[in-house]
Symmetry: D3
Subunit: 230 residues, 6 copies
Amino acid sequence: MKHRIVRRIRRPTAEAVRALAGHGVATIHEAQGRTGLLQPYMRPIFASARVAGTAVTVSCHPGDNLMIHAAIEVCQPGDVLVVAPTSTSTDGMFGELLATSCVAHGIAGLVIDAGVRDIAELTALNFPVWSKAISAQGTVKASAGSVNIDLVCAATLVHPGDVVVGDQDGVVIVRREEALEVARMSAARVAKEEVTRKRLQAGELGVDFYGLRETLRTLGVEYVDEDHDG
Amino acid sequence: MKHRIVRRIRRPTAEAVRALAGHGVATIHEAQGRTGLLQPYMRPIFASARVAGTAVTVSCHPGDNLMIHAAIEVCQPGDVLVVAPTSTSTDGMFGELLATSCVAHGIAGLVIDAGVRDIAELTALNFPVWSKAISAQGTVKASAGSVNIDLVCAATLVHPGDVVVGDQDGVVIVRREEALEVARMSAARVAKEEVTRKRLQAGELGVDFYGLRETLRTLGVEYVDEDHDG
Amino acid sequence: MKHRIVRRIRRPTAEAVRALAGHGVATIHEAQGRTGLLQPYMRPIFASARVAGTAVTVSCHPGDNLMIHAAIEVCQPGDVLVVAPTSTSTDGMFGELLATSCVAHGIAGLVIDAGVRDIAELTALNFPVWSKAISAQGTVKASAGSVNIDLVCAATLVHPGDVVVGDQDGVVIVRREEALEVARMSAARVAKEEVTRKRLQAGELGVDFYGLRETLRTLGVEYVDEDHDG
Amino acid sequence: MKHRIVRRIRRPTAEAVRALAGHGVATIHEAQGRTGLLQPYMRPIFASARVAGTAVTVSCHPGDNLMIHAAIEVCQPGDVLVVAPTSTSTDGMFGELLATSCVAHGIAGLVIDAGVRDIAELTALNFPVWSKAISAQGTVKASAGSVNIDLVCAATLVHPGDVVVGDQDGVVIVRREEALEVARMSAARVAKEEVTRKRLQAGELGVDFYGLRETLRTLGVEYVDEDHDG
Amino acid sequence: MKHRIVRRIRRPTAEAVRALAGHGVATIHEAQGRTGLLQPYMRPIFASARVAGTAVTVSCHPGDNLMIHAAIEVCQPGDVLVVAPTSTSTDGMFGELLATSCVAHGIAGLVIDAGVRDIAELTALNFPVWSKAISAQGTVKASAGSVNIDLVCAATLVHPGDVVVGDQDGVVIVRREEALEVARMSAARVAKEEVTRKRLQAGELGVDFYGLRETLRTLGVEYVDEDHDG
Amino acid sequence: MKHRIVRRIRRPTAEAVRALAGHGVATIHEAQGRTGLLQPYMRPIFASARVAGTAVTVSCHPGDNLMIHAAIEVCQPGDVLVVAPTSTSTDGMFGELLATSCVAHGIAGLVIDAGVRDIAELTALNFPVWSKAISAQGTVKASAGSVNIDLVCAATLVHPGDVVVGDQDGVVIVRREEALEVARMSAARVAKEEVTRKRLQAGELGVDFYGLRETLRTLGVEYVDEDHDG
């Protein structure tokens, strides 16, 4: 229960991260059984934001970004900071100077269940961020927290070393030890969807393609030609 | 009270839809007496989204998109899907594959009081969507619902066959039987606003143009030169 | 306690406004001791929106924009309308015609703790607006209110004549009598940050640059090499 | 599209209202196929609040209670006022004086998608209210609206003359013409639940009683003795 | 812009506070022209909570209650603590030990735009609290703030020395210098309402009593006997 | 990633649960380093609700309570059901019949990040529930989920077998393996607070008792006698 900074974490292989980087958040979320998705209030600060990297987790006091500074030291190139305050906050805990430091250390992006600021500058730096809010509200550097512990960010459990993938649809977390397998299943899903897409493009109906007519019948959904009450 | 899919609905004339398509949501909402507007949490997924078409309504179980598949079959080119779950949900009930199917069948757009996903792909398809949320959260195809019944979407009553107009300001519903008349009143409003705009551009004040000085006097609003307490 | 329209307010010098216009919202908020920021739900309607000007304040009944019309008359070029309803509302109290009138009178922008509409047209006019909501919901012109009184907008106190600065990070209010001093402190802050930025770009860590190692030690934050529980 | 006050509405029989009054909101909602429920943000102002009566509907401008005054005149003993503002509001549109007037005219309760005030007094009067908010915020009597039109209250369609039932679980609307049938189905449901209750009290499991073991098997849910990963 | 604790504030007379204590929040809010009301999310932690006293204001860092401790020293018997964090927070910044200290110093109550905890104990102490949230989340004592400065609490401006009145309907602030006059106007309003109440109890309609028939006519609201469309 | 029901979990000792049952949620949360608290939107359905027991966790599809039925079978007397849907929902997934079954099997209470219904009946049964919402909205029994897996409930990680403590302040989770130690630290905290309480009751100030004068000085908080600007 003490606050601590864990220097070394197990990371996924570069191959696993690269494989996941090729897929969208929705695909990965489906491929791993509809788990790992952060709450939809987590939105990218610019439309082209996209990231796949290794989670370095940061637990902060609300309104205090001391531990983000501490976390940068233990990051490696390609890591993604995943920050959660210990209680709800929209304060702008991260801005252009921290982003500059992240870029200098090769950090690939930020996922933060709080606010960020300097949006114009972060966009110019092309530093991808998913956050709960945009807020210029400043923070202090005064309270203890932890780096690289298991934490809950936007209602999802994140372990240090998990893979974080973010795009316009949101953010999904993949367990480190499942990363390669999830990438494989994502690729399989994409291949299968390619077939589906072609048939739907050709005008085949989903009720036929997915075999849903039987489901509708079993559920007692009735077809009527016109609604005479309407 | 049984779940049903109504195959045939009365549609407005193409002329009525075209006439309404020429006007903005705010204009139409005003022209029909400030009614028919969906709650402002309904936002377009890309800035240039714009639609006018006939409502095909879909009532779904939350987290279940079975009935959207069933609805596509009864759509005609130019229809707009209007989807509402039976209780509050932000799940991503609609994505790129469903959009592909919609495009194949000439469906003009989607209004959904829930979430959507595959935002990058929907934008690339230029398929206009207004939704409550963006979420990659996947859904099942397991529960009964209805197509083409009267339903409440984002706090507004929608009948199958009503006209749906969406733009950056939101979404407005026009009753089928009033569509032509509302289009006519919208055009009249636009013409009148053109006059107003010119006079305001020339520097005439709203308090003069709209005759509000008398209103202010009647309400007892006082003019003071300076505020000596301030 | 009577409703009133104050015709003359003390304005900051053009020099003070110009000086503040050169700085971002986050910088100014920090420079004046982390005060004056409006709630983060206040968002610009387009990404390039940016304003610095003098506050003309407007207190309205919810769903009623009578007093905005009255306020335009007492504005001078460079003023920014700051509008707050007397109770929570998302109605679209401001649209293209009011914006046209604002532009005609040189008004520099709008900050409104309610809704706006005609987003496409306001964007085309390049008229910057920060609002709580986008909504086509129309309003009446029927209820008394006041212009140029002290009011609370988005949880922040605004006096007529205060300087309003808005950008992508939100909106900050600077007291008229402190404007020059805050501009000076903002410039100092920017100069100082330029140094910080260079050292962070060069890879220096925040924990070293800001001297946070001692803080971490004092707070009892422990460094561990690996987490054997994880 | 004109504002109007409809003096005479078709009411359900006293027998139908009485029959529904004997059942809880959850039972009635289930009995009529899980429809008619108002959004769960509608809460009673005191725990013992309970009502069943005929809906007299009121559409108001936000922050304006003129039409509630107008509605009282067209009410009959046993009616329930169902009030919805034309846009979102939490203002206290109803208080002790209006409640006094309601009591004098035999009105049975209030359902309002906005705020109420004078909670202590309303509780002392034992006048049941379901509302979105408690707020002392006063309102004006200045804007047009309608009485006894179809409206959407808390996301549910209400017709004048529908039956309104409220208790601690919320508020449900029953179509006038279906009231007796829904009461009958509610009674059947209660009778059936009595049997279920006895068997569950005796320790029978829901998975057996409802035959869910097969469902679980079909869905592929696996039983494991211990979780060796946990 | 420095953090400070102001030891001496001007207080209203005991007579003014006593006079206001005799009236409800809704009455006072109306009597002073519908101003001074805190946002309706501020709720009492127990139903019988009621307070009238002098505001001692406290501006805190979110998640930090250091300044509440500092404020108690400068309070006098009958004062009410009015606490606002510098950014949004629901943390439980106040609990039983702080309440014990308040009671020891004769402090009459607490109004806090954040969370409180130890609800059972505060209720047993009969210490009235209005808060935004109930949360056990603990806070630190590490960040600077101010006591007895003007601040915005729940969207309303509060000066040290203003009168704070709270009941089941919420919390209202009365300017110190207007306290006696507002009390007088509240009493006048109560007297007038007594007459209104008697006439409404006797069955007189609000539309007649308030002379609203003319308003309805002017607004073009039409009476119809039956709705033949319905 | 398959759905599963884990029949056997490791439970804390009865002694550990009993020891924690003697302490409030706020005390336990503090004693274990301000961790384990569920979001403050989780509220008890009646004021006297209080529980301490072993977590049996349930992961459900939103709007579907199949897995709650499945979970009851694997519960032991004294267990507390901890239910989280896979996406946000307020549906009433639990009511009187399920509570009857829970009581029959000795289940001590329910913590559910969704809605409950039959509030009057649950209160009569004295069955303690903490929920996100009260809603009569019915659910189906159609979708797969899991029992006794690690899950996130109201933003907090819960393992099967953890201790759940709930009271008026909310809900806190204690790791099974830390239960005895946390109980011991809670008791120590209570003993220490007893001393604090006595000194505060005697009028000693928190700034003295906690030694905060030095903190205030270090932070640069200034004492001034009167505020000459105010």
